[in-house]
Amino acid sequence: MDRGTWTVKSGLAQMLKGGVIMDVVTAEHAKIAEEAGACAVMALERVPADIRAAGGVARMADPAVIVAIMEAVSIPVMAKCRIGHFVEAQVLEALGVDFMDESEVLTPADESHHIWKHDFKVPFVCGCRDLGEALRRIAEGAALIRTKGEAGTGNIVEAVKHMRAVMDEIRKIQGMTTDELMAEAKALGAPLELVLEVHKTGRLPVVNFAAGGVATPADAALMMQLGAEGVFVGSGVFKSSAPEVRARAIVKATTHYRDPEIIAEVSKGLGVAMPGVDIKTIPQEELLAPRGW
């Protein structure tokens, strides 16, 4: 029996497709998410909007919080570690989490290097802003990719920008001749082998989710129509006025993302969405998405 193989790690990402992964900070939140139909939860001490508000250094959550959430639900539980902080990743693996997010939402621990993710049996998800960043993370062993968006803002604009960048670059590479691919790999800062694979298949080598700013069912369906294979919702559920109904609505809109009548139906009477932030009002040094190398 072979455990922790690439097939088994990227395979769990394939099982999450078409689903919604929700940020939760308590066992009670996790149960609400599971009951609403989330395909997994992300166990945190604070949702990104609160991390953004608190400032200071954001680290891996207290293992006691993570374990309480793992015990509360039967769906997969993810947790975040800092970029480059491989010991936080070792701790999360020891706890038995199902997926680890090497996340720009936490304060980076290394300003040059990401974790060598092939060393772990538990799969990783990583954020990206463009195809080069996505392929660098996959080369390091990420089994699932997500857009970074701008976490904790309730503003979808950055996630759209990142998803469009990835999909446009994939289409461009698909249309190139083979002799153009080396220069393209150099320009992207991505391994040639993975650029060749994208050229051949016309898609990322792993599953591709959207994250960072999803606050409404229409936001989720927008990202799916742009090419996402599933959605992370961070602050969008539990910073809204009625988390239960909003969570259910986002799950339904993600499944029926091409059916505007269903999206209209589930969007009725959801109460107040999270307030949201205009990205232009955030000082450059407080943006999370530029973290990652």
Binding site: V8, L12, Q14, K17, G18, A40, V97, K121, V251
Partner: protein, 200 residues
């Protein structure tokens, strides 16, 4: 595929959530029409149904919300061909330990959910499956279930070396604890299509 006036069989794959596109791609390689099913009306005119891997709670809830649970139960009672993989096996079972949702109860099996543990315990291994013959089939088990008990009418198609049942057939229904859709090996899908075509 109408060279002899026979239309290609139509297989629906439940697409509430999970690895449905992998099943569709594998089925299309076997010269059948395959497409996603999200709403009850999309069950009409099918010759077979696949319930894919994914999160069983998510798939089960969305089936119920959009009126698919009872029609699929009805199809199962009529002897309709259904293939369930992983979450699909869980949903086909009569009883499931570890699921806060009523399964379809289509097959006389009792299944344990996440029976091998969490993701760190997910694995792949070679399986001897007599109905498809040699070579062994690469079984990919991801937070997988296994069969705790099977009724008299159920044929166990594959076991792990410790004797635990991981594949079963009852009538025209096949349940697999692992993921043939994550391999390049079409033999189990071909076996299911044999049932759809009315063979054994």
């Amino acid at each position: 595929m109408s060279t002899r006036g026979i239309r290609a069989k139509k297989i629906g794959v439940l697409a509430q959530q999970g690895a449905f596109s992998e099943h569709i791609a594998l089925l299309r390689r076997l010269d059948v029409e395959a497409f996603p099913v999200r709403l009850a009306k999309e069950l009409e005119g099918l010759d077979g149904l696949v319930i894919p891997g994914g999160e069983s709670t998510t798939i089960g809830k969305l089936m119920k919300e959009y009126g698919l649970t009872e029609p699929v139960r009805g199809l199962a009672k009529e002897g309709f061909p259904i293939l369930g993989t992983c979450a699909g096996m869980i949903l086909l079972a009569k009883r499931v330990s570890g699921l806060n949702l009523e399964p379809l109860g289509a097959m006389d099996i009792e299944v344990k959910r996440s029976a091998f543990g969490r993701q760190v315990d997910s694995f792949e291994t070679d399986l001897e499956i007599p109905v498809i013959g040699e070579p062994p089939f690469r079984g990919v088990f991801i937070r997988a279930p296994f069969i705790e008990r099977a009724g008299d009418g159920v044929e166990i198609l594959a076991r792990l070396p410790n004797g635990v049942g991981v594949a079963a057939r009852q009538g025209n229904m096949v349940a697999l604890a692992f993921h043939p859709e994550l391999t390049n090996d079409p033999r189990l899908h071909a076996y299911f299509l044999g049932i759809v075509h009315g063979g054994r």
